[in-house]
Symmetry: C2
Amino acid sequence: MDEICAKSKPRDRILDTATELFRRHGIRGIGVDAIAEAAGTNKMTLYRHFGSKDELIAECLRHQAEKFDRKWTAIEAAGDARAQLSAWIRLAGDYLEREKRGCDLANTAVELHEDDDHPARAVIEAFKIAQRDRLAVVCRAAGADDAELLADTLYLMLEGARVSRQSIGPEGPCSRFVKAAEAAVRSAIGEPRQVAAT
Amino acid sequence: MDEICAKSKPRDRILDTATELFRRHGIRGIGVDAIAEAAGTNKMTLYRHFGSKDELIAECLRHQAEKFDRKWTAIEAAGDARAQLSAWIRLAGDYLEREKRGCDLANTAVELHEDDDHPARAVIEAFKIAQRDRLAVVCRAAGADDAELLADTLYLMLEGARVSRQSIGPEGPCSRFVKAAEAAVRSAIGEPRQVAAT
DNA sequence: GCGGGAAGTTACAGACCAGTCACACCCACG
DNA sequence: CGTGGGTGTGACTGGTCTGTAACTTCCCGC
């Protein structure tokens, strides 16, 4: 963990290292000095690239949001809208099995508490709204009776699964997310024409 | 907010004040000194009653868990199992409208991050498992085709709604929780014999 | 009224933190 | 060669935090 990639530029190393350490220790649980050192650089360079710790946090989340956005290309390649819904569920399930911590953006929103002016706030809100709306578009295209309702249901279940993994652990309800989400889709639309999940 | 109740004993005032301040600022966002002062007492008295800040946090959550447990008596008074499910949803919806912050126990789990030895961990895990299992019992009694699946679905949706309120705000998907949860119950069981919700 | 335990007061230790400054360095490009 | 921009270094300010110690004061039951 000393250096994510020795040859990359300091700015990129700081961004990657900070993302990793914020995830592990929380934005209040790690200091800028420790981030800079872990990134194989120093505090001054960090402050020259990002004006403050809060700006660094916001930039990390922007980076994460873009990474999530790119996953939609894989979903859109899954076939028709009904298959895309199954692909979305499968990808979310994979994420739940892989990542011990939940969504960095949601976790940061929790850690921010009453701090409404934090630069990360706008990033989180915009990203979360976009994710839900993108899901709603697929639900509509898949012919759900009430696409908005199905999108809300799936969105809430995923958010819940990610936070539940942190309170109960991986054996709890979050391990049944895929099954529950598929059931919700089936009851709103019906079976997919060609089975997408194994 | 200076003193929650001037005449109560210091221990109770500290507990109530700490619960309130932890909710507002997060467990890392408020110091024991500020808690003691807001409770109309001092740090020494706080440390004499609770051995450490971590123990105080755990005790606050234990307190909160008992408060939630007591709400089940109202749910059980709502009638048969199907009516109890609607009562559970209505109560959760009220909670979402009333409380700006989500569940203190889940939020603390997020704030704890990799700290697996924290005394609050056991409290959170036991409480969350108990809540889900209690919900599953009602789902089974209400005659759900797959009671475990319905319990997971409702539990995940509520957890998601509470965390979503903190990232998107009260206008987002969390405002449609009641509608989505009722739809999930209807699709798993059917209409209640006597309408419980207005 | 008086004794004892609970509560308040003040000060302190030791650690951590965000952010700034002055200065030295290094390397690529002209 | 040399110069300038990006980078490294260490020290520093001023603040916050948990937890402890020694001492005083208050109040309730007897």
